[in-house]
């Protein structure tokens, strides 16, 4: 493994280990996801078609909020004991640190997303299981794009007193193209449409993933050192 990937892997493993032991983030997300499912059930009623029509929005609302919480927490951990200074002082490629943080956030978000999709199918008694493989692909691509730009902004706001407010304010407008494409692709996957109509949205989503990822890799050092 190259030193770059070794550093990224170390940061990823560290973030997962800390999150697994602390459990604060997972508990908060689990409670929030359950609440969301209950609220939507009361709002939409037992009509399966109405619920299915609202599912793309429901999914991505949950994923975005989970992401914002996860991103804030990923850098809140680095603020404890000034660990962020430790990362800055490390003689490591800062792009690798970015990649590790991004992978950690993506993995945690994906874990929550799999649990949420499963819980939605069971709780609403919906037959969405055939669409799950495509839903997971969309979730992965959307999450990478969201976390790519989110990791950058979370690092940027980590030192600020109003970071909990500023992070979503800065992040969400920029993530709109990713979220639009992800919601549309989720809708198409749930409707069982072929790949044809989905292709332009895939191009948009993957294009933004690449742009955000490259921008993050190139600029994270400056964000961290600012």
């Amino acid at each position: 493994m190259s030193p770059f990937l070794r550093t990224a892997w170390a940061v990823f493993r560290k973030d997962i280990a800390v999150e697994r032991r602390a459990k604060e983030g997972a508990n908060a997300l689990g409670f929030f996801a359950l609440l969301l499912l209950f609220l939507f059930y009361f709002a939409l009623g037992p009509d399966g078609d109405r619920i299915r029509a609202a599912l793309p929005g429901l999914f991505w609302l949950a994923f975005i909020l989970a992401g914002v919480l996860g991103l804030g927490r990923a850098f809140a951990l680095e603020q404890e004991n000034d660990c962020l200074d430790g990362l800055i002082l490390a003689p490591a490629d800062k792009g690798a640190i970015y990649l590790g943080k991004l992978a950690g956030t993506t993995a945690l978000m994906l874990g929550m997303e799999v649990a949420f999709i499963t819980a939605t199918g069971i709780f609403y008694n919906l037959d969405i299981w055939a669409a799950v493989p495509r839903l997971l692909l969309v979730a992965l691509a959307g999450t990478v794009g969201f976390a790519a730009v989110g990791t950058l902004f979370a690092a940027m706001t980590a030192h600020l007193r109003a970071r909990e407010v500023l992070l979503p304010v800065l992040l969400l407008p920029l993530a709109v193209p990713v979220l639009l494409a992800a919601v549309k692709l989720t809708d198409l996957a749930l409707a069982g449409e072929g790949w044809g109509p989905a292709w332009p949205w895939w191009q948009l989503l993957l294009g933004f993933d690449v742009v955000f990822l490259v921008a993050g890799l190139l600029t994270f050092e400056f964000v961290l050192e600012a």
């Binding site: 550093t7 940061v11 280990a17 032991r21 404890e80 490390a90 003689p91």
Partner: protein, 234 residues
């Protein structure tokens, strides 16, 4: 090995450092004393490349603090007020992570040896959040030792250490000097300053107000020098 020439650091209108010039050759320890707010921590953060100087410049082993900061970071280990440790990782895991960031494979034997050197051989597998503040500081010291640095920057590293921990740190500093390393040690303890220093500098209001070689300097003489300097600038 460590050079600073006219280092100035402004935070808005506040001048934390007003032109600090110092030199620490290889094999020497410079201890810096000074009252709260005199600029000691800012000086350490500048030398560690955590902040950039507003004016002036500095070098570590010939590498500029700004343009050569990547090289400087390979040579320097820092133990500051904060430990830079993850509370939910064990002492051993924290050191392994630091090794990975330094581009080295985590060698369990080396890590355990470093922890043993600070007296933590029995606590390597305990999460940092379960350790006392003194033991956490020892973990941070073990991490610094593991780096095998050429330059050591210690900011209040003695605070919170019990007599055994203090002795281990003093022993390490003597061995570090003998091995050709250079260190800047910030402390409030005059006794500690004299125990490890080759030279003592007193920082007051962002300037080096006095400097003395260890020589035959007694604690009383150092106290008079310290109080005289800080009283004059207060």
């Amino acid at each position: 090995m460590i050079e600073a020439i006219g280092l100035v650091k402004l935070y808005g209108m506040h001048a934390a450092l007003r032109g600090v010039t110092l030199e620490v050759p290889a094999g020497q320890v410079l201890t810096i004393l000074g009252h709260n707010g005199s600029g000691k921590t800012t000086l350490v953060r500048l030398l560690a490349t955590l902040v950039r100087p507003t004016a002036g410049h500095g070098r570590i082993a010939g590498h500029d603090l700004v343009d050569g900061r990547d090289e400087v970071r390979r040579l320097v280990a820092v133990v500051g007020h904060s430990t830079h440790l993850y509370d939910d990782l064990t002492a051993r895991e924290n050191l392994a992570f630091a090794e990975a960031l330094a581009g080295r494979r985590a060698d369990a034997a080396r890590i355990d040896a470093a922890l043993a050197r600070v007296g933590l051989d029995g606590q390597a597998g305990i999460r940092v959040c379960a350790l006392s503040s003194g033991l956490r500081r020892r973990v941070a010291l073990a991490r610094a030792m593991l780096r095998e640095p050429r330059v050591l920057l210690l900011d209040e590293a003695f605070s919170g250490l019990d007599p055994e921990g203090t002795k281990r740190l003093e022993d390490y500093l003597h061995a570090f000097k003998a091995g050709g390393g250079a260190a800047v040690v910030v402390t409030h303890s005059l006794g500690r300053a004299l125990a490890v220093a080759d030279r003592v500098a007193i920082l007051a209001a962002g300037r080096i107000a006095a400097e003395a070689t260890r020589g035959s300097l007694t604690e009383e003489a150092l106290q008079r020098l310290y109080l005289g300097t800080t009283d004059a600038t207060a």
